[in-house]
Amino acid sequence: MNDTAAILPKPAARAAEPRRATILDRLRHIEPVALVWLALVVVLLFLVVAPLAKLFLVSFETQETGAFTLSNYVTAYGRARYRDALVNSLLLGLASATISVVLAVPMAWAVSRTDMPGKGLTWAVVLGAFVVPPYLGAVGWILLAGPNSGVINRVWRAVTGAEGALFNIYSFEGLALVIALHSFPLVFIFVKAALDLVSSEMEDAANILGAGTWTAVRKVSLPLVWPSIMAAFIVIFLETIALFGTPAIIGIPARINVVTTQLWQFFEYPVRVEVAAAYAMPLLLITVGMIAVQKLLLSRKGFVSQTGKGGERRPIKLGPWRWALFGWCAAVGLLSVAMPLLVLLQASFAKAWGRGIALDNLTLRNYRLLIFEHEMALTSIWNTIWFSASAATAAVLIALLIAYIVNRRLVPFGEALGFLAMAPFVIPGIVMAIGFYAAYASPPLALYGTAAIIIFAFTARFLPIAYANSSAAVRAVHPEMEEAARILGSGRLHAISRITAPLVKKALLGGWLIVFIVASRELSAAIFLVGPRTRTMSVLLYDLSEAGNFEVLAAFGGLLLLITMVLVGIGMKLVGRDFMLRRT
């Protein structure tokens, strides 16, 4: 049989076809997916490429005329004060990343590898520190460790009779510590995920050769997860230098100027967006470079992420030392979650928070003021909810379409879409916000002060989270699931709606909730884009902190936390206990 085929050369075989495909046939076979692909390209150009390109262009433009100039860069880096801010940012990033690693690596090791008691509590600490917005923690720490009236310092003076303060939060150390107390969960997640893959046999092999538990940890387990520690270090460094809230709340009163607060000052009247754009460039370059380094670190072969599963895992017995580790985890929990939240709670029900817990100091006035009298509070809550919901919906929808097209290889060069969807990951939120401001605030679109510009910015900023989530969800559905439906007579769209959609529903819901939660507390992207009627809760909180009204601020923070907690609760119920903390 093959003989006859071999005799026929290929062209002859083609000519032997009973009929050629007609043009009509070809038209019928253009799948609608090509149009969807085109639409997605336009959306991504609008959300990702245009703001960045505009930011870059504007940094070379003269205000008003738009003529080419380098003077923005001269202005941005011509003054020592501005250069110092960059140095401060880098130092602060190093400091808070170091503190985060010190705090979190023992916790991750304890939870992943040992018989430490209270692992559930440690998880709660990590989740708590993760969901409390950093600026709220910063306010909590002002109440705790303000030099004069901070609770810790008052207790210290009362107990020792000393004059000064035990710990002044308005300092570089204070700033670094507060940032670290809300960043360490990322180190925990990274390192625990890596430790979970180290089989006990690795340590056994060290033990049998004569290494004690501590030596085995130091020489085997930790080196194995070293790339993950470094990767987490880099992420926290980058988050810190891009962070606006905490440096603004603590750093400005402490006269510590960093890049983000300096960018904010460029936006004070008269707005100098060109200078801000020029000033933001190093932040962007550093981030892109460091993410590249991080990718390299994680892709190196021979490390734990590649050796993968297999092998038994059993907890290391620590004896009395397990209580020391538990103490460490509990201390981190006290500093990061329990103490700040307690003082905030107290302040929110107090007439004057400095007077402490007393019956005649209790009041519901702060909540009443916010809910019934404050002109912006309810509006900002509503804004926060619907901006976040819109952004989460848009981000998940766009991400799902891209993930599906890329994963099923429906179009050539689909990967370009995935790349663009992930690109905002390397753009600091504050830089993105300035890009949106530069691109869309002024005519022809004139979106400044509208809800749309905030929703677009949130969508773009959190697209990578949604994309990572959707991509994992789509990958988990074997293409044969859909093919099985098609061969039984169901069209592509029918198969997607009947088979694929139900299978990815839960994962997408998880992604939606995560985007909603992070969007609802986002400050740095929002603060540059809000108008008088589009303030979000995070922006209003910042306004309140500038006004120094800590009781009302605490009450408002409580409301924000309540909303977040409800959503986290829904997520844990529907998607799984660790849905916020999964490493994607």
Binding site: M1, N2, T4, A5, A6, L8, K10, A13, R14, A16, E17, P18, R19, R20, A21, T22, D25, R26, H29, H478, E480, M481, E483, A484, A485, R486, I487, L488, G489, S490, G491, R492, I499, P502, L503
Partner: protein, 357 residues
């Protein structure tokens, strides 16, 4: 009547030709396997038949109508086929019953009939008692049965199976082979079965198409593939064999150390003179301690046992004919024990020798 025809079917990915001018015709109700090592193009061929992959050249025809050609592919959902996938692709969000009913509901059958046919087919695959279960609650073999039921219940014009047993353990695999053949005997659905496991292909198929490097090497009934392999690849791939070089001359085939008459192997072979290659199955060679008599002209050769392995069901000997460098694999029953270095006699059954290309 022919049900499914592949004509010159070809698939290129860039410069790489994965399927290379395949011709194959299936009769109504026939069960044909595509058998070959991984990467030989058998799954791509199957996916072209299903309509998931567009051919680069050639056509797929069903009942005389072209359903696939370059630039024009009837979508899978309009082919009246069904398919069983390597991963089973049982939808985890539906119960067994809902999985099986899916195709029937798409055909807009009355719900009474859907229920009846689902119940019937589930009984046939012995899954009736698990109709309400979700796939996650089933074992691999049970999932496989659901996949079979789901594919068969729609009475497809052609049934396609893509390595359906490769994820099962050995015992279950053997059981499911017979199950698949039993269902075929019952429903007589025209079937294309892709596998790399020759035992699977032999147990299930009417004919087997052996594929290698994108080409079909030979299409034949299982026992003919074994006894009359036509190419070196087929002889080596189907069962184990001794491939012996020889020279055909004057009506005799001369091996290294002994001769066989051409007429004994295949009376229709011509008398030309050329080098030839023969496949001699280890089972077709017999071992004797003494020179056997009364074999009616079968070639008998003295030799020495060079190696041996006991495999439980058989002995595996390597015998070296005297004055020859050839090493022959010979299979013998468990009680027939020969020591290494022992002088033995071997005789061949010329009818079981096959000339290969």
């Amino acid at each position: 009547m022919s049900r499914l025809s592949l004509r010159g079917l070809t698939k290129d990915y860039g410069k790489l030709t994965v399927v290379d001018r395949i011709d194959l015709t299936l009769m109504e109700g026939e069960f044909v396997s595509l058998l070959g090592p991984s990467g030989c193009g058998k799954t791509t061929t199957l996916r072209m038949i299903a309509g998931f992959v567009e051919p680069t050249a050639g056509t797929v025809e069903m009942a005389g109508k072209v359903i696939s050609s370059p630039g024009s592919v009837l979508p899978p959902e309009r082919r009246q086929m069904s398919m069983i996938f390597q991963s089973y692709a049982i939808w985890p969000n539906m119960t067994v019953q809902e999985n099986v009913a899916f195709g029937l509901k798409l055909r807009k059958l009355p719900s009474e009939e859907v229920r009846r046919r689902v119940a019937e087919i589930l009984d046939v695959v012995q899954m009736g008692h698990l109709a309400g279960r979700y796939p996650a609650e089933l074992s691999g073999g049970q999932q496989q049965r659901v996949a079979l039921a789901r594919a068969i219940v729609v009475k497809p014009a052609v049934l396609l199976l893509d390595e359906p047993l490769s994820n099962l353990d050995a015992n279950l695999r053997e059981e499911m082979r017979f199950e698949i053949r039993r269902l075929h005997d019952e429903f007589r659905i025209t079937t294309v079965y892709v596998t790399h496991d020759q035992a699977e292909a032999m147990a299930t198929s009417d004919r087997i198409a052996v594929m290698n490097a994108g080409r079909i090497e030979q299409v034949d009934a299982p026992h003919l593939l074994y006894t009359r392999p036509r190419t070196r690849f087929v002889a080596g791939f189907i069962g184990r064999t001794n491939l012996l070089e020889a020279r055909m001359e004057n009506g005799e085939i001369g091996f290294d150390g002994f001769d066989v008459k051409v007429a004994q192997i295949d009376p229709e072979l011509g008398g030309e003179t050329r080098p030839v290659l023969l496949s001699v199955r280890p089972q077709s060679i017999r071992l004797h301690s003494d020179r056997p008599a009364g074999l009616g002209g079968r070639p008998v050769v003295p030799g020495v046992v060079a190696q041996r392995v006991f495999l439980g069901e058989t002995w595996d000997y390597v015998v070296q004919p005297r004055n020859s460098g050839t090493r022959l694999r010979v299979t013998a029953p468990p009680l027939q024990v020969h020591e290494i270095g022992e002088a033995v006699w071997i005789d061949f059954d010329p009818k079981q020798m096959a000339l290969v290309e």
